[in-house]
């Protein structure tokens, strides 16, 4: 994690935030652009979930992480508070590692 990366991320994130509030302002983006942007988090967050759960470098693998994330899915589905979701998921993975 370099300082250059942090600067680029900071500038990029700020550029996107201000592009909406200051650049576009009370006008609006064209509907197709809005629709694509609205769908990005669903695609990217899902991809991040499976990446953090089932991949190690270029390899696909199933290990103790899958148990923790499965617990997180059930906990979110049961509307458990988000902080507790994280605690339960970590605990499930940690315990699985300890006993296996």
């Amino acid at each position: 994690m370099t300082w250059a990366l942090i600067v680029v991320l900071s500038v990029g994130a700020y550029a996107l935030k201000s592009a909406g509030l200051v650049g576009v302002g009370v006008r609006d983006f064209p509907a197709p652009v809005r629709n694509v942007i609205a769908l990005i988090p669903a695609a990217v967050l899902s991809a991040l979930i499976v990446k953090d759960t089932f991949t190690a470098g270029h390899d696909l693998q199933i290990d103790a992480r899958a148990i923790g994330v499965a617990v997180a899915v059930v906990a979110v589905w049961k509307r458990v508070p988000l902080w507790l979701v994280i605690v339960l998921a970590c605990a499930a993975t940690g315990i699985t590692r300890a006993v296996s």
């Binding site: 509030l21 197709p32 809005r34 990217v44 899902s46 991809a47 499976v50 696909l60 994280i86």
Partner: protein, 239 residues
């Protein structure tokens, strides 16, 4: 014997905003702790973790970048993935713009705080004055809690065996929480499922972390008009 004075309308207004804003701040605290810990785990330092939370200040993108770096991905993959995820903040900016009219410096300052939680809270209010208040109160709450939690997490992270306590699934668990309120429409659910499948399918063949970027292309189905596009803004969880 005095009777309790009924709360004035103004006090009531503030209470209705400050309560939920503090609730969101508390939720964000858990995310910030995990961010601080994992930032150290991914080769960061306390100052770097703090710079991320103070200046990047959009949680899901910070998580995404650190997650890619932790997996051994390149800086380019980490940056592109994180910024694609941050693009929604541009839409949020448009959504809150009518409530944040003012001078250019005012709007430039407000831009830094245009994220999921502030947008959700702002749009949930019913008068222009309440919308403006909600934006700033939520911004203050999230900014303080997020940065405080990052600091505590980063300091603690230097002394924690993340594998032993299963902390390497903290991000995945947080992502599950962020995703849930975003996939209420059938179309968003299909996009989410497709994004996951695409990411796993390309992982063996593309640079580490680039699977996230390839998966984002699935969102281009949004170019096809549909009746169930769903809301752009969710108040469900910090992201």
């Amino acid at each position: 014997m005095g009777r309790a004075k009924p709360p004035s309308k103004a006090t009531d207004d503030w209470a209705g905003i400050i309560g939920p804003a503090l609730g969101l701040g508390f939720a964000v605290f858990a995310f910030g702790l995990s961010f601080g810990v994992m930032c150290i785990d991914a080769g960061g330092s306390v100052p770097k973790a703090m710079a991320m939370s103070l200046f990047v200040f959009t949680g899901a993108s910070q998580f995404s970048a650190v997650s890619v770096l932790a997996a051994g991905g390149s800086a380019a993959s980490a940056i592109v993935g994180a910024l694609i995820l941050a693009s929604r903040n541009a839409v949020y900016g448009v959504a809150v713009a009518p409530s944040l009219t003012g001078s250019l410096p005012y709007r430039l300052f407000a831009s830094q705080f245009t994220i999921d939680e502030t947008t959700g809270m702002t749009l949930a209010q019913n008068t222009p004055q309440r919308r403006r208040r909600a934006f700033w109160v939520t911004a203050a709450s999230i900014y303080v809690f997020w940065n405080l939690a990052t600091l505590i997490g980063a300091i603690a992270g230097s002394n924690i065996d993340t594998q032993k306590y299963g902390l390497d699934v903290a991000f995945a668990a947080a992502f599950v929480g962020m995703l849930a309120p975003l996939i209420v429409s059938p179309r968003a659910r299909r996009v989410g499922f497709a994004g996951a499948v695409v990411c796993l399918a390309v992982t063996p063949f593309v640079p580490i972390g680039a699977g996230i970027i390839v998966a984002a292309l699935v969102a281009l189905v949004g170019l096809r008009p549909t009746a169930d596009a769903g809301p752009v803004v969710s108040t469900g969880g910090p992201a």
